[in-house]
């Protein structure tokens, strides 16, 4: 099947506690931080690769196109996904400040109409904006069915139907979705048996997590194509539905850490300070 994977570049989430706010409060500055693919999008790339291969025979079965809306440097992030095994990239250049959910969803809609994938497979949320919204918006704009927070996928009807398990507050929801569809993935989509595509034997166990790019993969990625165009060229409406005029750092937790010597001392704190019982 043909899969489109939207991917965003974010500053290294493990350094998110180093984000700063500019003096005038108008922007979050990510100076000095490293860039990474949004982890959930990397998981989506892995899930797409698993859906489109026979892992036992090392055979590729479909096409995977990775697309991003962002600054020109994002080409490097796309290249990382190509090195993992995706086939082709599309970079729609726009300033970081323009990446509002609705604007991104509309741009992705325009790309879907151009590329006509069977499936859009993407992260459930970006770990910089934490909106958890673009996939749902895109599905509605396309009039397509969706499955969000998906932790496992198995295909049926020759790939036309997806049986998915969604992780929700109360437990797990199972849905059957007919393609073309939008699927947003959760953390456990990269567990060893989360994706079954009917080609790779069901007994196959993947390594936990997204695959590393092999040296060969990195070499091949250099030759893969990344089409680049500017956001206005897509013709999608770029008027933001929301604006973010001001940022602040969160209030620091007051007090400091008291090391207690023994379980008895802790029982005392729980009883007298936390009033736990």
């Amino acid at each position: 099947m043909k899969i489109l994977v939207p991917l965003k570049r974010v500053c290294d989430p493990d350094n998110a506690n180093k984000v700063k706010v500019s003096g005038d409060g108008k922007a979050v500055t990510s100076e000095g931080l490293e860039w990474k693919p949004n982890p959930f999008d990397e998981y989506a790339v892995e899930a797409a690769l698993r859906l489109n291969e026979n892992a036992a025979k090392n055979e590729k079965l479909g096409e995977i196109v990775v697309c991003s809306i962002g600054v020109a440097d994002v080409a490097q992030t796309i290249r990382q996904a190509l090195a993992m095994g995706a086939d082709r990239g599309i970079l729609v250049t726009a300033d970081d400040g323009a990446l509002e959910s609705t604007v991104v969803a509309r741009a992705l809609k325009a790309l879907v109409e151009k590329e006509k994938p069977d499936l859009v497979l993407m992260g459930k949320q970006t770990v910089d904006g934490d909106s958890n919204a673009v996939g749902q918006m895109l599905a509605e704009m396309l009039g397509w069915p969706m499955a969000t927070f998906v932790a496992s996928i198995s295909t049926s009807d020759g790939g036309k139907s997806l049986n998915v398990k969604r992780e929700v507050d109360m437990g797990v929801v199972t849905l059957k979705v007919t393609t073309p569809a939008v699927v947003t993935v959760d953390l456990r989509i990269v567990s060893p048996e989360a994706v079954k595509n009917g080609a790779t034997p069901d007994s196959h166990k993947y390594n936990e997590g997204p695959r590393y790019a092999s040296l060969k993969g990195i070499m091949q990625a250099k030759k893969k194509k990344i089409d680049q165009l500017e956001l206005p060229a897509l013709g999608s409406d770029a008027t933001p539905a929301t604006t973010y005029p001001r940022f602040e750092l969160p209030p620091a937790r007051s007090g400091s850490c008291t090391f207690v010597e023994s379980v008895d001392a802790l029982v005392d704190k729980l009883k007298n300070q936390a009033k736990a019982f």
Binding site: A16, V127, F149, D186, R246, F247, V263, A276
Partner: protein, 325 residues
């Protein structure tokens, strides 16, 4: 004047308590702008839930009966019609997995701006500003919505559940609308993880175990007894879920549940930022960890440096003894 519609979340024909956090936001906006708020009870058993939802001071409660089995394609068209016909300016729900799934889809249908997971609001004659965390809670943003309709989800821990207002709102039935894309989704089942313990998102005390717990047996024999001695909910980390010690709906964090209990006890948890994002609003934080350098120390109030497999059972026994005496 801003009119607000609250989309209540139903489970087994009852409104979930988290719906009342969205009611609190609706009241705030309605009061700040001299508008009104209504509540929509939508789902299987809507009518029964509507009767309960009528106690919270809404101008009216709308009831839309649906067949069992939620998915957004089935609900969004009906809600969108209600919003358009009712002239609402703000539509809100709790930022639970239900609200997060449904509301952005609804926003796109209404061509409205979406604001996810807000922690505060300022609403008066001059407009509405929402506050929401970003970067795993490491920055707080002010958000303005540029479209006539705003779609907003609220963080349950930051908006106390609305109290009953006395009296009863009138209840109105509304009809369903079916959209074509809903044919391409089939609801198969919801497997509810059953637990006798309090709901994680609402518990006054949460006892969490991380990878340091080392096995599902230890989770049962070490972590759960402490939770039960305190009447607490059980939480966990992604690492412990990935290792198969416990199931995913107990995960606390940026991508799991957000909790803010009076007391959070973190056992064998290092304190990765993704975990802290889900629990740093807790009033008192206790860490039990054999590594005193663990980053959780940066936000813990009390820290016991110990092997949890020894310290936690001892703690449980001593709490039980102290309670009995």
């Amino acid at each position: 004047m801003t009119d607000v519609l609250v989309v209540a979340e139903l489970l087994n024909g009852e409104a979930r308590k988290n719906s009342l956090s969205a009611v609190t936001l609706a009241k705030k906006i309605a009061e700040g702008t001299s508008g009104a708020f209504d509540i929509l009870s939508i789902g299987a058993g809507a009518k029964g839930a509507a009767a309960t939802l009528a106690k919270f001071g809404a101008r009216k409660v709308l009831s839309a009966e649906m067949a069992e089995g939620y998915y957004a394609e089935k609900y969004a068209p009906t809600i969108a019609e209600i919003v358009k016909n009712g002239g609402y300016n703000v539509v809100t729900a709790c930022a639970s997995s239900y609200g997060k799934d449904l509301m952005p889809r609804l926003a796109a249908r209404l061509q409205a701006g979406n604001v996810s997971d807000i922690t505060a609001v300022k609403a008066d004659g001059s407009g509405i500003t929402y506050i929401r965390p970003m970067f795993a809670g490491n920055a707080m943003a002010e958000v303005k919505v540029n479209t006539p309709i705003h779609v907003v989800t609220v963080r349950q821990t930051e908006f106390a559940a609305a109290a009953e207002a006395g009296g009863s709102s009138p209840i109105e039935d509304v009809a369903n609308i079916v959209a074509p894309s809903s044919d391409r989704v089939q609801f198969v089942k919801l497997e509810v993880a059953k637990s006798e313990r309090p709901d994680l998102a609402e518990a006054a005390i949460v006892v969490s175990g991380g990878r340091g717990v080392k096995s599902s047996e230890n989770f049962k024999n070490v972590i759960e007894p402490l939770a039960d001695a305190l009447g607490a909910a059980v939480g966990t980390t992604r690492a412990a879920v990935d290792a198969g010690y416990v199931s995913g709906e107990l995960q606390v964090g940026q991508t799991g549940k957000i909790v803010a209990p009076n007391l959070y006890i973190a056992c064998g948890i290092s304190g990765a930022i993704q975990h802290l994002a889900g629990m740093k609003g807790s009033k008192v934080i206790v860490a039990i960890n054999k590594d005193q350098e663990a980053p959780i120390a940066q936000i813990a109030d009390f820290f016991l440096v110990a092997d949890l497999l020894k310290a936690v059972p001892e703690l449980t026994e001593k709490i039980k003894a102290a309670k009995a005496s």
